[in-house]
């Protein structure tokens, strides 16, 4: 039941109600003065902006309620600029609303579709012109053109090849290897088990050979979290237990979900929490995922002591650290 016939008549535009400023010259003059004052307020804002640029010390901080410590010049520049802009806007709108004509105007609208004759003519022309190119008849041209256009996108792709090197095996490697000392970050000092009290946590990195500079790329894969708890609290299989030393256990700090630094350690529950997506890992159970989107535990680094009694890696990581990638082949 399409309601083509409207239930009520369209009454047409309501009668125009005159504004005060339309009929009263005094009101109109008042509106003019208001607009002028608003424009002048904007000018004051601009002068204030320039004055604060010149006269306020750019290093001066003032304390304001709610805002706290604030740079006085930035605040003055900003409020001046805001006033100079805002009042121009208000003035223009007020001008339009009080003094410019407010009669609603009706403009006609026409359906976009052309008349049937024009349309048929147009369609016929398109068909004829397309036919003139002969694309439909000359299938050899059509196919070869398809090949050419299909292939042309490949050149830019190939040209972009030098954006970066091939990953090779680099996602799976770190600077950790058998005998590499754990050093503090920051500080670069080797660590003895006695440096860590029970409950302590520290970020460590592998000691690099003399003269090698540590890069952010290294830290992004090498960062390790060292945690010490009471040995009897571990709930590990024999192998993983052998990777710990006297209650000290080490995990990759790079989240196995999306690579954020897993930096929140809850001492009471012995949980590690990633601040990005709240994946939670249980330190006592080899960083098993107990909550959140991470699908794998944090890789554990096997620890032992070197001849001088410093903590060293027993071996490199046995699996790639950080987020998953296609070539990764361990669960």
């Amino acid at each position: 039941m399409s309601n083509e016939i409207k239930p009520f008549e369209n009454p047409g535009l309501p009668e125009h109600a005159h504004r005060k400023s339309d009929v009263d010259a005094i009101a109109a003059n008042r509106a003019e003065r208001q607009v002028a004052i608003l424009f002048l307020l904007s000018a004051v804002g601009t002068i204030g902006t320039i004055a604060s640029y010149i006269f306020i010390d750019s290093k001066k901080f003032i304390f304001l309620p709610i805002l706290g410590d604030t740079n006085a010049q930035q605040l003055a520049l900003g409020t001046g600029l805001a006033a100079s802009l805002f009042f121009i806007g208000i003035a223009a709108v007020h001008w339009a609303k009080t003094l410019m004509p407010d009669n609603e105007v009706i403009a006609e609208r026409h359906e976009f579709r052309s008349s049937d004759a024009d349309r048929e003519d147009f369609v016929a022309t398109v068909k004829e012109r397309a036919g003139a190119a002969g694309l439909g008849r000359r299938s050899l041209i059509k196919r070869s053109m398809g090949v050419a256009l299909g292939l042309i996108g490949l050149s830019p792709l190939v040209l972009l090849r030098d954006l970066g090197p091939l990953p090779k095996n680099e996602f799976a490697t770190t600077n950790w290897a058998a005998g590499v000392r754990l050093v503090t970050d920051p500080g670069n000092r080797p660590i003895k088990p006695s440096d860590l009290e029970i409950g302590a946590v520290a970020q460590v990195l592998p000691a690099l050979p003399e003269g090698t500079e540590r890069t952010l790329e290294n830290i992004g894969k090498d960062a390790v979290l060292l945690i010490r708890i009471r040995p009897e609290e571990f709930n590990l299989d024999a192998q993983r237990l052998s990777w710990t030393h006297n209650g000290i256990i080490a995990f990759s700090k790079i989240c196995s979900h999306m690579g954020c630094a897993v930096a929140l350690y809850e001492q009471q529950t012995k949980h590690l929490l990633c601040p990005c997506h709240q994946s939670t890992f249980d330190v006592t159970r080899a960083a098993k995922v107990i909550f959140g989107p991470a699908a794998r535990p944090l890789p554990q680094l096997a620890l032992t002591l070197d001849a001088d009694g410093y903590l060293v890696a027993k071996q490199g990581f046995t699996e790639p650290v950080g987020p998953s990638f296609w070539e990764r082949n361990s669960a």
Binding site: M1, S2, N3, P7, F8, N10, P11, G12, L13, Q74, L77, G78, L85, F86, G89, I90, A92, V93, W95, A96, M100, P101, D102, V105, I106, A107, E108, R109, F112, R113, R161, L163, P165, E170, L205, E217, I219, G220, K221, H257, M258, G259, C260, A261, A263, C276, H277, Q278, V289, F291, P293, A295, R296, P323, S324, F325, W326, E327, R328, N329
Partner: protein, 530 residues
């Protein structure tokens, strides 16, 4: 003749002598635009874009998009002698050693947030009023493109300073790239010029942020506005308004003054926010290093829903044949957003297929009169809000003393359960509002005045609506559902039978309405009581 009029005349003559544009210009200077507050939402987006261009250009004069390590020796004492990237150091320089630099940074960031908010609210206005219908489907698609690019542009922008928070964001983006099946590791190494974070990513996204994407924006916005201009703006239904006209104010001078003035108002408000409301204080975060992070890491709000989806994803990974597929990243990070945005882009075509309506529409719908669409919009919105809430689950947990696990489980279930409930409730509300409209048209407005009749009865006086109001409440079309294709006499099913059935089912749901009152009904009632 006043001097100003003579000058205006001379200018017009000068232009026409050189372009012959008199006819065209006259027509367009008196072009009529309908007036409504909701039409200003798109304007806010446009003006924010201009503010972004202006403030962004200012920032480029000092910003150094380089990841070379430098030692900071500017005036911000707490980071003195700290090693950092040149982009972070130059952002500190802008914030502390360029007069008005911090102000411009904050204006730029606030304008970006307002830009995205205005786009989203403008999109909701267009959706709920049906402004995307024929002939405006192309503009809807351009709008979706602008929204998508806006999210990318915003993300790249706040990634540039290379602080601890934004670096963490890039780290997450890298993990998404790395998660692509087959080519992920290669894409990541190409994008970052080697291992993350490398030294080329920020210079690369800088040129995308300041040249490539703004250029595309400029082109798309131009086409968007030209289409609005050429197709003429839609208008809300009301007395005197029809599908065949546009009722409003002429461009010159009223709209020039109002729209021009509104630009300055938006700029003024943004500048005020930049002056008093601190945003993205990167000096508190420190320079980026992959081994550190700040608690409560949050993306900007328009990325929050995406982060929320990633946070609530179940821990699913497939390990098979020596390969890994991270569903916990691919589903929330790529597949779900892909489905959402594709569905959004296709909606005008889906709706017109369901309703079989292929006519032009220039009068907007009142949302209640299209219950199905309104309910669908509310449902999608509830989905996004739940996702967004989970994107801030850590902040919500600490502020309201809730457990983060509780919020996560609530949103995991809520994301599936709440939207259908919202759909049903919204649809019922729409139908109730239609019923209320019908009631008030037929029986008049309740005045709250009680009258005692001589016989001692109490009656409430109802006041009849004005013809204008009655028209506004009853003018909408109420199309019938499309009939399902039926079997013919021989029992053969028509082609595309299943498709036809689905279409008929959806069409029936779409056409569910409370019948609008007719003047005949109104007259019959007048003859009866009152």
């Amino acid at each position: 003749m006043k001097t100003s009029e003579r000058v205006a005349g001379n200018v017009a003559g000068y232009i026409d002598d050189r372009t012959g544009a008199a006819g065209w210009a006259k027509k367009n200077l008196t072009k009529v635009f309908p007036d409504h507050w909701s039409f200003m939402l798109g304007e806010i987006a446009l003006y924010s874009f201009i503010i972004l261009l202006l403030s962004g250009t200012f920032l480029t004069f000092w910003f150094d998009p380089s990841q070379q390590e430098v030692i900071y020796n500017g005036s911000y004492a707490p980071l003195s002698h700290v090693s950092m990237s040149a982009s972070y150091a130059s952002t500190l320089h802008i914030s502390f050693d360029v007069r008005g630099g911090l102000l411009m940074r904050q204006i730029h960031h606030w304008a970006a947030l307002i830009f995205m908010a205005a786009i989203v609210v403008h999109l909701l206005r267009v959706f709920f009023t049906g402004a995307f219908r024929k002939p405006r489907e192309a503009n809807w698609l351009i709008g979706i493109g602008l929204l998508t690019l806006g999210i990318v542009e915003g993300f790249l922008g706040y990634s540039l300073p290379d602080d601890l928070l934004s670096g963490t964001g890039i780290r997450i983006a890298e993990a998404i790239i790395q998660a692509f099946p087959v080519v992920g590791s290669y894409l990541s190494y190409f994008a970052f010029g080697g291992a993350f974070p490398g030294h080329v990513f920020i210079p690369r996204i800088y040129i995308v942020h300041v040249l490539l994407l703004p250029g595309i924006f400029l082109a798309l916005i131009t086409v968007h506005l030209m289409l609005v201009w050429y197709q003429k703006h839609t208008q809300y239904p009301g007395p005197g308004r029809t599908e065949k006209n546009v009722v409003g104010y002429p461009l010159m001078p009223v709209y020039m003054a109002k729209a021009g003035g509104f630009f300055f108002i938006v700029f003024g408000v943004t500048a005020f926010l930049g002056a008093v409301a601190s945003i993205n204080p990167i000096w508190l975060y420190g320079p980026y290093t992959p081994g550190q992070i700040s608690a409560g890491s949050q993306p900007d709000w328009y990325m929050g829903w995406l982060d929320g989806l990633v946070r609530m994803a179940p821990p699913l990974e497939t390990h098979a044949f020596g390969h890994t597929i991270s569903w916990n990243i691919l589903i929330p990070g790529l597949i779900l957003p892909g489905i959402l945005f594709t569905g959004m882009a296709l909606y005008p075509f889906i709706e017109s297929w369901i309703s079989g309506d292929n006519r032009e529409h220039h009068l907007l719908d009142r949302p209640r009169n299209v219950p199905n669409r309104t309910a669908l919009g509310a449902m999608s919105l509830s989905f996004m809000i739940i996702a967004l809430a989970n994107g801030g689950n850590d902040v919500i947990a600490t502020h309201f003393h809730l457990t983060i696990n509780g919020i996560m489980w609530f949103t995991r279930f809520g994301l599936i359960i709440v939207p259908p409930i919202v759909f049903v409730i919204t649809k019922r509300i729409c139908l109730s509002l239609q019923r209320a409209d019908r009631e008030i048209v037929l029986h008049g407005r309740e005045t709250g005045r009680l009258v005692m009749t001589p016989s001692g009865e109490f009656l409430e006086v109802h006041e009849e609506l004005t013809p204008e109001k009655k028209w506004t409440l009853t003018q909408h079309e109420q199309p019938a559902a499309l009939a399902a294709p039926t079997e013919d006499a021989h029992g053969t099913r028509p082609r595309g039978g299943l498709k036809g059935k689905i279409r008929a089912r959806m069409s029936a749901a779409n056409a569910e309405q409370v019948p609008a009152p007719t003047s005949i009904e109104a007259r019959e009632l007048e003859g009866g009581h009152h």
